[in-house]
Subunit: 373 residues, 4 copies
Amino acid sequence: MTKTLDPRDDMLGRARVRDNAELEAYYDDLAKQDTGALWTVANDIEPWEPKAKSDPIIWRSADLRQQVLRALDLVRPEDAGRRVVYLRNPKRQDVSAACGWLFSGIQVMNPGERAGAHRHAASALRFIMEGKGAYTVVDGHRMELGENDFVITPNGTWHEHGVSEDGETSMWQDGLDIPLTNCLEANFYEVHPDDYQATNLPVDDRQLSWGGAGLRPETDKWDRPFSPLMKFAWEPTYEALRNYAKATDGSPYDGVIMRYVNPQTGDNPMLTMGAHMQMLRPAEHTKAHRHTGNVIYHVAKGEGYSVIGGKRFDWKKNDIFCVPAWTWHEHCNTQQREDSCLFSFNDFPTMEKLGYWREQALEDNDGHQIVEA
Amino acid sequence: MTKTLDPRDDMLGRARVRDNAELEAYYDDLAKQDTGALWTVANDIEPWEPKAKSDPIIWRSADLRQQVLRALDLVRPEDAGRRVVYLRNPKRQDVSAACGWLFSGIQVMNPGERAGAHRHAASALRFIMEGKGAYTVVDGHRMELGENDFVITPNGTWHEHGVSEDGETSMWQDGLDIPLTNCLEANFYEVHPDDYQATNLPVDDRQLSWGGAGLRPETDKWDRPFSPLMKFAWEPTYEALRNYAKATDGSPYDGVIMRYVNPQTGDNPMLTMGAHMQMLRPAEHTKAHRHTGNVIYHVAKGEGYSVIGGKRFDWKKNDIFCVPAWTWHEHCNTQQREDSCLFSFNDFPTMEKLGYWREQALEDNDGHQIVEA
Amino acid sequence: MTKTLDPRDDMLGRARVRDNAELEAYYDDLAKQDTGALWTVANDIEPWEPKAKSDPIIWRSADLRQQVLRALDLVRPEDAGRRVVYLRNPKRQDVSAACGWLFSGIQVMNPGERAGAHRHAASALRFIMEGKGAYTVVDGHRMELGENDFVITPNGTWHEHGVSEDGETSMWQDGLDIPLTNCLEANFYEVHPDDYQATNLPVDDRQLSWGGAGLRPETDKWDRPFSPLMKFAWEPTYEALRNYAKATDGSPYDGVIMRYVNPQTGDNPMLTMGAHMQMLRPAEHTKAHRHTGNVIYHVAKGEGYSVIGGKRFDWKKNDIFCVPAWTWHEHCNTQQREDSCLFSFNDFPTMEKLGYWREQALEDNDGHQIVEA
Amino acid sequence: MTKTLDPRDDMLGRARVRDNAELEAYYDDLAKQDTGALWTVANDIEPWEPKAKSDPIIWRSADLRQQVLRALDLVRPEDAGRRVVYLRNPKRQDVSAACGWLFSGIQVMNPGERAGAHRHAASALRFIMEGKGAYTVVDGHRMELGENDFVITPNGTWHEHGVSEDGETSMWQDGLDIPLTNCLEANFYEVHPDDYQATNLPVDDRQLSWGGAGLRPETDKWDRPFSPLMKFAWEPTYEALRNYAKATDGSPYDGVIMRYVNPQTGDNPMLTMGAHMQMLRPAEHTKAHRHTGNVIYHVAKGEGYSVIGGKRFDWKKNDIFCVPAWTWHEHCNTQQREDSCLFSFNDFPTMEKLGYWREQALEDNDGHQIVEA
């Protein structure tokens, strides 16, 4: 139990007890009573600043896509529950997380397939990568999905996914807070009593009702703690980004960046996770910052690279990478004439609600990291 | 002071004192001390239900437009402050209100004209009727205005209006809560120290930043108590209505109706006044209801009629009419193939915040009023 | 209609049209169409700053109490509804208000008397002046009332008042927003179907449940838009003031002042009206300020004077006086060894919710008004 | 990787893939790319309901107190940082937690001792067990502490503890969300630049200002995200419980229970942790329920037992025990004439904000658990 004291901790206000035989005997007695001496662990459990639990890592579409397609022949959705290849951060294998307490995976379905309806205490989102005819039904609201559409299936909602008979093999990224829900001992799971949801609501009724900016459908009663707009389609999102680019200098760290929000309240669309779409203008290279909270990025358009924790990660369309908590990161669009767009999701709402949000700009080297060789 | 007792008030819980000489003497003594006996006024100041202070009335464009145009030759904006013909409810002449505590007027400007910048504690809105090249500048944000656009100039903001040199004579309806602000002894007025606002923000920057549904411009800091989206243009509003019509049965009283909201919060765009755009589908005839709060309507599209307090008011494009508080009203689109659209503004936010909102459906006659001959 | 132009209005941004025959003819035409020219009224309805609608005035207990007691013999509560002498501001006789849009009156009851239960859209409060055994029942919650207790009977609640058989003749001040409710065309009135409320809740159950600071009764469900604590008793209020006096320098304008709040939310106890208890320390003379909103004061303890709009009003226990909107006022405790306490109620919540709150300190003369001779 | 399928999972909507050689090869390939097949872990990471991460456990004062006192001679506060024996749940040794993600320990100090000021992203609370003259200084506000007082030292505040020279050896329980803060990679730590805080504020100024129920000190500006009342003293808390007991039947699961709240907002006093004081009336035996979230109890008064997860834990004054997430629990006061009081703190605010709160009553056996032999 005796450990070497970090010189930085040799000060008033930190634990700097020098252990001795008498103390060791005391520690043994304490342990027998399910107790311990705080000063033996204090500096560990009260670090000067957070140390990320995850590695920065990239999953390249070139590799990933083929593996996902193999699953089409290997398992059926009705056996797999969901036919998903999940992203497993080397440091987070124990909790099946891609980064921090965020789960992510790639799901694939053939035309005519569908998976049974279920619900859980965890919240989920989807970002569509390819295909035609995919759909999601959330509490009876059916949404048709196309490339780069972002869809939510919040905490406690019945949901199911499928691809219509006349569609194409479809692939999308799933994001969930399952690791967080488990971590906080709060996950519940139910299978729909009828296997699938019946619905007679118009297709895309949520989008039709709530898709006008600054307009509230007066007779659409909505008292759920998540967004009544559950599909955020790519075209209006990209148009909004291009418009916003005309009116803003952008963020020094993120270029032109918009947050997906609940139009009824302006808050994040779900309680625990947030999401952004950001545009890096031609040749834009942002400055580095770091913050609490974890982020998983998906390249929606273009190509470039990000420097994360001093390492360079080159990316192009449909590559996925993560930025662990309190890790420096900056982005670069290597295209000279085209913009690049990054979709991302995160656990920022959790950080903010609990008072844990903190952010810092890199001051050295004009705001840019030294890239590891 | 002795009055006849309304038979409905002759019950426990109401004032039903029979006056006599002794009481009359008492009342005289009270009056000398700046007091009175509550029971002499109680039934008046505690009515069973509200009695509207305003008449239902219509201002027809056919009449109004010509009078407004006459003003172009009669006064200059720099002398008039604003070249406005205001709508004066016969019962509200003392407070210069169009209905309840709402002011409304029609403003007109020639190309090249502009009125000086000012600000006041009252909130204002505009609904554009005709012309080209009109603009409003609100706290440095310049907005270009076209037909049926809705614009806010909230409480405490510097604002000015004009028409560009290459524009056309332009006309719009103003709506303000000036009578309410005066009624509550809270009106302040200031002229801009430089007469006009200087600005180097991009034109329509608020619309460019906040015009995407379910999207928040992440770096646009906004902590004002009103909407950062200050222009609600007609085209996206009408498109939103048509979409919503595919997903809703509509309100029995108002057809397909959307409320203009602050996209940052989902609340009304300003603190005291709200606004709607509603679509009456071909041949739609709504049922009657009544509610506290006053409404001023502007026909944005189509033709039809409304029955208000038992009287029929036929309307077409750019006619303006009002519905006083707690007055039955229903609307009818007389076109068989086209929709009609009504813009309206109201004092509902005031009613709701103070706990005064109440609504009632007409039960008799299948929900329709008997129209006076 | 031609009026002399105030020199202060002879500037860009104000109306300064010189009328002529042509304009007069135009005005006549406008009037026929229920319209008018804004510039003929603009400077009036957009004043540079508010002008109070009420006079500052004092109602002295020495005068008032005797008149109120006379009413005991003149009318019965079951005939009067409530046996109340109301305070009538000379400028507000038309709306039966004491100040601004606030009603106030003095109610008196003999032992064994009670008035029937009713409810209304207006909110009410009571401040007990003298007597024993008085009680109020609000939605079934019975509260026993003593001197200087403050009680609320909010918007929409059934309520009734009485004095128990073994009590004493009791007198209290009522405060209501009836004039505001009428002004906003929102007053509704209902008599209780059973004349009186039946209840088997423990007496003072609201106080017993919510009377602990920083403590929420976990199983007391409460989703009403007003305070679950409906009686604010004098003893704990005065104790709180004395404690607070040890920790604060106080307000330069109000001495040691506490706001009555809803302990569930920290907001004002009712939607439209607020209330304070303030302590002027021995010989304390505050500085002058003015603000939007109207206030009615009741001297709960001690003696002194207030200067309101340049006039001095001397007061002692149970005197009542008012401060009209945007009127300078300052307070002085003339006792050298004892504190004085002022209870007051106001319309500040209305002002704040509508964005109309504004406040200004008097800068001249070291913050003190010149008192009129 | 092949596992036996739980029969309960052999259904549509769960993962029930039968592994084979081809799949095993696939899994190997996936692993090389930092990925995995969801269906191999799905049933584990999506359990039907939560399984507690902690054991129910009791730390008895009879054992604990002596060990804590030994520390007085073994370490000095200026070396230990804080002289604390912490409670270590057998299943949570890796995160030094007492239950779930909650840390707790017992701190002891001699007269004249004080520990240096520091601050951290974690929030802390204290419950005083014995002694005289103990104090805490939070952002310059000094609070004197007595037995059963509850004190908060929220997220980001400078704080330090000590015992005055003329006091007695003092002992208190600390509660912190350090494990949660670490789990969410958000812990920061700073030592005060001057080692100790200087302050000239009156002692207990927060209590003096905010200690009146339903009263807000008008001039005490407070815009922090935690309670301005930071000490909740025992006497008024116990008095409030006794009052509340006269007005409520209590909770079937918790007897007469009050939540400590921020009097400015009615919310929990800190962002991540909540706290209660509850009274079990003479001989009261509550029914069992379970809920998400973890709780650590401290016996403030009396004696009795709790049944937690089917095991009986007898307790008396100053014993500490925990109830892990989603574990049945019920309480019994074994005294026939005296009440027992339990202080407790929890992570409910975290659960509620993230939408993870869920609660269930035990239906069987008249709501009582079968106690393990």
